[in-house]
């Protein structure tokens, strides 16, 4: 009779006393604000709103711009770790959306495009939050254009991170030689997968459901 009781207690203690495991999701979104890509920013706003609607209490979300030097906290437009109470999380989501609206109204095109710096910043942010599921959205044409003096040719650690490239538009030069576009995509895929991450491209923004699948 004593054995089952002890076993039950042991199971209960194991369940309660185990290390707390996070079930949260962390999303970091990079917005390309270089050149004409700024015109696409409204599409990014839709994606941000969709992401906000999908995130739960306890999840973390940050939106940062990609500019000349993106490895900087100053480039984070809005960030939030949602409260564990659903009502407070809803208030945070509304405030988040307001900040994004304001950014969209006042955004200025940047001279250069430092995607790698932005990715490094995203990885730092996600490491700090330590969610169970980590996702980085890159809303960009993936054409990196670094200012002289910026060093970004090093390996990034994407272990356990989903990297999703969104709305990868074709440049004029891509139209002339599509290989450039394909090589660009392949290059980023290789970089992410070599770093231990998973790479996806979603250009059809009508099926945003796919963002959180897989």
């Amino acid at each position: 009779m004593k054995t089952p009781v002890l076993l039950g207690l042991a199971l209960l203690l194991t369940a309660c006393g185990g290390p707390p495991t996070s079930h949260a999701t962390g999303v970091y979104m990079l917005l390309d604000t270089s050149g004409t890509y700024t015109e696409e920013i409204e599409k990014a706003q839709q994606i941000i709103n969709f992401t906000l609607s999908r995130l739960e209490p306890g999840d973390s979300f940050a939106v940062a711009r990609i500019d000349t030097g993106s490895f900087s906290e100053r480039d984070i437009v809005a960030k939030a770790t949602f409260d564990e109470r659903p009502s407070a999380a809803n208030v945070q989501k509304r405030q988040f959306q307001t900040r994004i609206d304001e950014f969209v109204r006042t955004v200025r095109p940047s001279g250069y495009t430092d995607i790698s710096g932005g990715l490094l910043q995203a990885l730092e942010y996600l490491d700090e939050k330590a969610p169970r599921r980590r996702t980085i959205f890159i809303f960009s044409d993936l054409k990196e254009d670094l200012q002289e003096g910026y060093v970004r040719d090093f390996q990034l650690a994407f272990t356990g991170v989903d990297v999703v490239a969104l709305n990868v538009t074709k440049l004029r030069s891509d139209n002339m030689d599509p290989r450039e576009y394909l090589e660009r995509l392949a290059s980023w895929r290789q970089r992410v997968e070599q770093g231990g991450g998973r790479w996806r491209v979603i250009n059809d923004l009508d099926r945003l459901e796919a963002l959180f699948q897989g």
Binding site: A15, C16, G18, P20, T21, H23, A24, N49, F50, L52, S53, E56, P57, G58, E84, R85, P86, S87, A89, N90, K93, R94, Q97
Partner: protein
């Protein structure tokens, strides 16, 4: 490897030689081989037969145990029913027949008063004045024309008229009095009629109950005697009760699920939506715990009311303690039901808040949270949140039946499985034995040529021996 089997260069010849060798070896070892086959199959057959026998014994043991359990459960149920019937009879006797002496005295008094009133209502005709004959004699004897006689007669006439009027008035007064007495008798008659009716109902009820007790006692005697009829009846009843209680429990589980969905979401506001115990959200576990506590309280309430008897300790408690327990569990249930109603209200608010946020994020603009018909859903949710805990209380009744009949149903299932296994083992054993015989025959078919030769030689040898003897 292939060369190993090649006795000659010709494959066919080698095969033929190998076959001849094999047949010879088989013929020489025929008796041993046949015995081995027979022993092996007999051994397997016996092992399976013993296993089947063991299963049969287990089945019989289980059947006997199941029968005992069924009879014990039936006996207990009958005792409860008979005890309850006796309680009802006691209540009827105490309520209606317990005051029989008082009722009898009341009836006697009423009848006595009615009798007195009846005597008082006897019709007494007005008396005729006694001197009328004397007046008639005077009137006949004297001269009617004589003024003095006339005056006397008129005076007498006037006196008679007055006397008649007085008598009539007196008679009317007496008649009124009689009618009044007769009227006063009606309610007494009705009272007597009502009392007798109540007595008749009480006696009828007792007679009905006694007939019911007789029936239950007959069944109880059958159960005590352990007759097959009683077992069959109890078994059928147990199966029916098991099915019905399982259905009701399934409905109750549906209610519990709805209850859970009502309080799980707002529970996240209380305990947080991000903490987990194992792989389950703490908010979900908290909601589940509340529902389980409510069901437990319902169970204790039913036990305290002696509607169910899952816990003999509670049934054996003194009446006063049970009443305290009833009140205590009822208060806790009410508090939990109120908490649920509050959570259901909170759920509606959260839902509206989430809808507003989702609408804002979609770019539809924030809709008005308040609506004209919104209070209906809010009130319905609150009502369900308050009522469901009390409704779930009654799950204790089918639960008790389910648990009681589960033993019997599981026992029956086990018996069926054992019986099937027994049959399967017996079939397999026979199959193996017959296969052994078949293999022996096939063995003989394989070595039919040397067998035929040996038989012919044996026959010739026998003929020679007979000739030599002759």
């Amino acid at each position: 490897m292939q060369d190993l089997f090649m006795i000659t260069d010709s494959v066919a010849l080698s095969a033929l030689l190998w076959a001849a060798l094999a047949i010879t070896v088989m013929f020489l070892g025929r008796d041993s081989a046949r015995r081995s086959i027979a022993t092996l199959t007999r051994m397997l057959h016996n092992a399976l037969r013993i296993a089947a026998h063991g299963l049969r014994r287990a089945e019989l043991h289980l059947e006997s145990r199941n029968r005992e359990v069924l009879l014990a459960t039936g006996r207990e149920a009958k005792e409860r029913i008979v005890s309850r019937e006796f309680e009802r009879i006691t209540a009827t006797v105490a309520r209606d027949l317990g005051r029989y002496p008082e009722t009898q005295r009341t009836l006697t008094e009423i009848i006595q008063r009615i009798d007195e009133d009846h005597q008082n209502t006897a019709d007494v005709p007005p008396e005729v004045p006694g001197w009328s004959k004397a007046v008639k004699a005077v009137a006949d004897a004297a001269d009617r024309a004589d003024p003095s006689v006339r005056e006397v007669l008129e005076a007498i006439h006037a006196s008679l008229d007055r006397a008649q009027a007085r008598s009539l008035a007196s008679y009317r007064q007496a008649s009124r009095q009689r009618h009044k007495l007769l009227s006063a008798m009606m309610p007494r008659w009705r009272h007597i009629q009502g009392t007798l009716k109540r007595m008749e109902n009480a006696v009828s009820s007792i007679l009905e109950r006694s007939r019911s007790i007789d029936r239950h006692m007959d069944e109880y005697r059958d159960i005590l005697a352990g007759t097959d009829r009683a077992v069959q009846t109890l078994s059928t009843s147990a199966l029916v009760q098991f099915t019905v209680s399982a259905l009701v429990i399934a409905v109750a589980v549906g209610g519990a699920v709805i209850n859970f969905s009502l309080i799980a979401r707002p529970m996240a506001e209380m305990v947080g939506g991000t903490s987990y115990i194992g792989t389950f959200r703490t908010a979900d576990i908290a909601a589940l715990v509340i529902i389980l506590v409510e069901m437990s309280m319902g169970l204790f309430l039913m036990e305290s009311l002696r509607i169910t008897r899952l816990f003999p300790v509670i049934s054996a408690l003194p009446d006063r303690t049970r009443v305290y327990m009833c009140v205590f569990t009822l208060v806790i249930l009410t508090i939990l039901a109120s908490v649920e109603a509050g959570l259901a209200y909170m759920r509606e608010i959260l839902l509206q808040d989430e809808l507003a946020t989702a609408s804002l994020l979609r770019g539809d603009g924030a809709p008005a949270i308040t609506g004209e018909a919104l209070w209906i859903t809010t009130a319905a949710q609150m009502g369900m949140g308050f009522i469901l805990p009390f409704a779930l209380t009654f799950v204790a009744i089918p639960l008790e039946t389910f648990i009681q009949t589960l033993r019997h149903v599981l026992g029956m299932l086990a018996i069926v499985l054992l019986r099937l296994a027994n049959v399967a083992l017996r079939i397999l054993g026979n199959l193996i034995r017959q296969t052994g015989v078949l293999v022996q025959h096939l063995y003989d078919v394989a070595i039919f040529a040397p067998l035929w030769v040996a038989e012919r030689l044996g026959a010739r040898r026998a003929v020679s021996r007979r000739e030599a003897a002759a």
